[in-house]
Symmetry: C2
Subunit: 202 residues, 2 copies
């Protein structure tokens, strides 16, 4: 199909599609003439994915390019690809000056989990714990235990569903980290509203 | 203290503090002379909160102003303040054309939760379910049940901790929605890395 049809089928303006092509978010179409390219179903799927990453997951164009790039060139062990995907996702957190994360370490030890300061999410956890303090809502051990137990059960389920096919496993690890997060956050917010509408309203 | 001391104590540049003052994120200091104002501990706390909302929660200056504004002028029932806080937090999702969210409705009915299309998080859930489809990772009933059960338990815990003092309850509802989300996401990512480092590495 022409770019105009790709645009009308996906609802993404032609100028935006051209921008994504320039930024490497979308592979080039097959050249038909010097000024015309042909696009297929894979472009339509990729556009839907890019819009989801930008609009719902909240990634920037640059972050989306990194995530999409991991799908296109997934080399090396799945574990390392997962680490690269997490590093590409917000929040962007600078490493600590000394490379240590004492509060995150204490939380992970309490939960019996691996502490590896090279994991980007360790720095994210440290900063998130700091932010809760800054908001006057420090996280105590009881909250750590409840959050850790239930989030751990969710992670167990996620890992139990990793596909056997290597390419599908990469897509699941990279995209599943990103696209299921907004679902979990929406469910928590709706859980609060559900409980509040039963007990706090009025 | 002078603005220069407030800056050095918080690490926030003077120009940024002046910007927050202009944008209403920080209350004005007490005027000492026509060109000098005095700042106190409450300004230091508020600056730490604003930085946490922007850097860790990922809010824009405009979104942070709405959240902070809810703390400053918390009128009406806690339930409605909670709803306004959720509306101010990302992802920003436009309401559907017909005001209905059939997929979110099916999920909430499956989980036995209130479905009220006026809740912003209902539109967020609908879009998040769409995004998972767009990524080729649609959410099946088993995933809904596991996520719903464990996120529901987290929401129960959160609600059980609402402070009795009305002003503290508002701060908890507004800020707890925002600042605990990055903690939960970091824990999930670390849960994946913990499981993966035990089983998938290599």
């Amino acid at each position: 199909m022409r770019i105009s049809e790709l645009s009308s089928r996906t609802g993404v303006p032609i100028a935006t599609i051209k921008y994504y092509l320039r930024e490497g978010l979308l592979p080039a179409g097959a050249a038909v003439t010097a000024t015309r390219a042909d696009y297929g179903a894979e472009h339509e799927r990729r556009l839907a994915l890019v819009r989801a990453l930008i609009d719902v997951v909240g990634l920037s164009v640059q972050q989306s390019r990194v995530v999409v790039g991991l799908l296109d060139a997934s080399e090396g062990p799945l574990f390392e690809t997962l680490g690269r995907a997490i590093s590409a996702l917000p929040p962007a957190v600078a490493p600590s000056a000394d490379g240590e994360y004492p509060r995150a370490k204490a939380v992970l030890e309490r939960l019996g989990q691996v502490y590896d300061p090279r994991f980007t999410a360790v720095a994210q956890l440290e900063r998130a714990l700091d932010a809760a303090d800054a908001a006057g809502l420090p996280i105590d051990d009881e909250r750590i235990d409840v959050y850790g137990r239930h989030v751990g059960a969710i992670a167990d389920f996620d890992v139990s569903r990793v596909p056997a096919d290597p390419a599908e496993a990469v897509a699941y690890a990279v995209l599943g980290t990103a696209v299921y997060e907004p679902v979990l956050l929406a469910l928590r917010r709706l859980g609060h509203q559900d409980r509040a509408s039963r007990s706090l309203r009025g």
